[in-house]
């Protein structure tokens, strides 16, 4: 690494290129997310969440979906954060909705989608805001899907959804229905706790992330993309193919719009599916989710999101395009 000349390019070298580039891009956000989750673990009082959220499960799920606009987070950072929030008393349905929605319903993604699809030019004023069809479709479909999944999760108990290790960390409610008050501890002790939790979360998340990125990097550099051209024209294969591509490429939601926009062989509905499915489910997320959710839940999420987004993309895109003023 230090003294020898750079190795020659090779197939393996290509995989390493893709691997390191995704790692360099994503690892900082994992660190941010896990430091945040450590701080939540140590400093957030569980009773706080009780007070702030609407009592009604359905309503709080709807609210959770828009929180990404206020607390933006990227897919790499969101998993450790919601794990800790759940352990502090956030209802699992809200956590799942936020986890799925926040990587899409956030200002950075809105801007990058507007830019990649050249929609800034089309929106000249409030009347023409409907012209930003891809951005509106993406954010609205992302929200809708996240809320639907959250509402489904609402019907299950936490122990059916979460892994044992996560469940064990949940603050227990005592016999009198109140959270037990923790004894007063010093700020320093809490900080120590926060940093140790952050370190543990960082290593957990990064391990799953690494596995996912290795697989993605292999696909990214070793599979010929011209295969896509043959399937893109086929109306039955186009949507599943592009969603499969989203899974395999594991791109960040802040920039995947720039990858989708130029893919002229795919329809707008297909690109919508790519841009909504990708931030919710890809190889690295698959692995990161399996650190928090039971295996069958992760599988259900994969299949469910695939079907839901696959079915909704076309009609949704057509619906939003009605809003565009020509």
């Amino acid at each position: 690494m230090f003294f020898a000349a750079l190795p020659e390019p090779s197939r393996i070298g290509d995989v390493l290129m893709a691997f390191l580039s995704i790692v360099f891009e994503g690892a900082p956000y994992i660190l941010v997310g896990t430091v945040l989750s450590g701080l939540i673990a140590a400093f957030l009082d569980s009773r706080m969440l009780d007070k702030v959220l609407p009592k009604n499960g359905v309503l709080s799920t709807f609210v959770a979906g828009v929180l990404g606009l206020v607390f933006p987070v990227c897919e790499c950072a969101v998993v450790p954060v919601i794990k800790r929030l759940v352990q502090k008393g956030l209802p699992v349905s809200c956590a799942v909705t936020y986890m799925l929605a926040a990587p899409i319903m956030n200002p950075i993604v809105a801007v990058s989608t507007l830019t990649a699809f050249k929609e800034f030019q089309k929106v000249t004023g409030w009347e023409t805001i409907g012209n930003a069809t891809m951005t509106i479709s993406r954010l609205s479909l992302g929200y809708a899907v996240a809320v639907i999944v959250g509402l489904i999760v609402l019907r299950f108990r936490p122990d059916q959804i979460l892994k044992k290790s996560v469940l064990d960390g949940i603050a227990k409610v005592g016999a009198d229905g109140q959270h037990a008050t923790a004894p007063k501890t010093s700020f320093n002790a809490k900080l120590v706790h926060a940093m140790r939790a952050a370190m543990g979360d960082f290593l957990d998340t990064t391990m799953y992330f690494t596995i996912g990125v290795i697989i993605t990097s292999v696909f990214n550099t070793q599979v010929d993309q011209s295969i896509l051209n043959d399937v893109a024209g086929n109306e039955w294969l186009a949507l599943p193919t592009i969603m499969g591509l989203a899974v395999v490429l594991s791109l960040c939601s802040t920039s995947d719009a720039f990858i989708a926009a130029p893919m002229a062989v795919f329809s707008m509905a297909a690109k919508l599916a790519f841009l909504v499915f990708g931030p919710m489910m890809d190889i690295k997320l698959l692995f990161m989710y399996s650190g928090v959710f039971k295996r069958r839940v992760v599988l259900a999420l994969l299949i469910g999101l695939f079907i839901l987004i696959g079915c909704l993309s076309e009609p949704w895109m057509m619906m939003i395009q009605q809003l565009a003023t020509k």
């Binding site: 750079l6 290129m17 790692v23 011209s226």
Partner: protein, 397 residues
């Protein structure tokens, strides 16, 4: 902390320091530039993350003996004022099976039957498992809601731990030592070298030629384009205008392909594009690529001399007579993994010269546009090609 937990603690610190070191090295050496674009905070985040990981790791190192709120901050729902202590070597084992759930909650820890693998040293001693009522109706027999940072490293047995630690350090360090900082021809081909799409309208304003022109100039307002005067300089008149079929090919392609983006003249071209001392317009391959989608620019630039620096690969599309090479630049959005090759053919009019794949070349020639298949393809009719050194940034951001 017990022996096992201490070991895990120090190993975790070590792993974080390894990550920190790799990130900081790539940033400090500048090699990160081959992986991330310069705009935005991409590259700086690597520095911040490297420093941040170091801080978290070192903080944990220096607070190894300190009081950890996790020990005291339990919501067990019981009172914390027991003052028994956990004897040496005694602890609880979360991962053993309470099949009969018949463990005795009211024993004291002197003859402890559990092994947590931790000691609560330096922590308020508290009672884990007796003298309070709690719920037996789950498979462990008790639920400890303390937050010792349960994670893979703590939960699994040693084989799992070692596998996890290897997965955390081995790929990263191996990649750091073996990465070539650039792609091979194989990756470039896989990323779509031979499936270009010249009518790509969504990125029309990517090229420098249009920076100060609105992409959606309305047709009503636009004055008819001024006739393009031939420059009075030494640029020779383009010979291909003498050939009728080339002029026909350069005329507007079928609708729904290249678009009109407003008037554009040779003056605009000269203002927006630098010229070499021979008068060649210096353009990057992506810029030339995108002219395939802009009618007015094509009209102006056809027959002009351009020069570009790019990498070379054999041409496999429309090249039966072997007159062509393909030149490309990789363009990166947010990390090298999303790099896409932008490429155009270079036609020599005779057998194309041999170049080692992926070498950097400077090509000089005349711009022309030919309809091939259902696309209008920008082509350089080369007058000169020579090997050159790679530019500072191999990829375009």
């Amino acid at each position: 902390m017990s022996g096992t937990r201490t070991t895990i603690h120090f190993l975790s610190i070590l792993i974080m320091l390894v990550w920190s070191a790799v990130l900081l090295y790539f940033y400090a050496s500048g090699r990160v530039n081959a992986y991330l674009p310069p705009d935005g905070i991409f590259r700086d985040m690597v520095l911040i993350a490297g420093i941040g990981m170091g801080i978290v790791a070192l903080f944990n190192l220096f607070t190894t003996q300190a009081e950890n709120a996790a020990c005291c901050d339990h919501d067990h729902g019981h009172d914390h004022h027991h003052d028994h202590d956990h004897k040496e070597g005694c602890g609880h084992d979360h991962s053993h099976d309470h099949k009969d759930c018949g463990h005795d909650h009211s024993h004291d820890h002197a003859d402890c039957g559990h092994d947590h693998g931790h000691k609560h040293e330096g922590c308020c001693g508290h009672d884990h498992g007796h003298a309070h009522s709690h719920d037996h109706a789950h498979d462990h027999g008790h639920v400890h809601s303390h937050d010792h940072g349960h994670g893979i490293l703590e939960e699994s047995a040693w084989p799992g731990r070692i596998a996890a630690m290897l997965m955390l350090v081995a790929p990263l360090t191996w990649a750091a030592f073996n990465t070539p900082d650039r792609y091979s021809a194989n990756a470039v081909v896989n990323k779509g070298l031979y499936i270009p799409n010249y009518e790509d309208k969504t990125n029309a304003d990517k090229f420098a030629l249009r920076q100060d022109k609105p992409a959606n100039a309305t047709k009503v307002d636009r004055a008819p384009p001024a006739p393009t005067p031939m420059p009075a300089t030494a640029i020779p008149p383009p010979e291909q205008f003498n050939k009728a079929e080339n002029v026909a090919k350069a005329s507007p392609p079928p609708p729904d392909k290249a678009q009109s983006y407003g008037s554009f003249t040779l003056e605009d071209l000269k203002k927006q594009v630098p010229q070499s001392k021979e008068g060649n317009f210096i353009l990057e391959v992506p810029e030339i690529y995108y002219t395939g989608g802009d009618l007015e620019v094509q009209k102006v630039i056809t027959g002009q001399f351009v020069e570009t620096t790019a990498q070379v690969l054999p041409e496999k599309v429309n090249n039966k007579n072997g007159h062509r090479l393909r030149v490309f630049r990789l363009m990166v959005q947010c990390c090298a993994a999303d790099a896409r090759p932008y490429s155009i053919p270079v036609d020599f009019g005779k057998k194309a010269p041999d170049f080692k794949e992926m070498s950097w070349v400077k090509v000089t020639g005349k711009m022309t546009y030919k309809k091939e298949g259902d696309q209008v393809v920008p082509i350089i009719e080369a007058t000169k090609i020579e090997e050159t050194t790679a530019p500072a940034d191999a990829m375009i951001y």
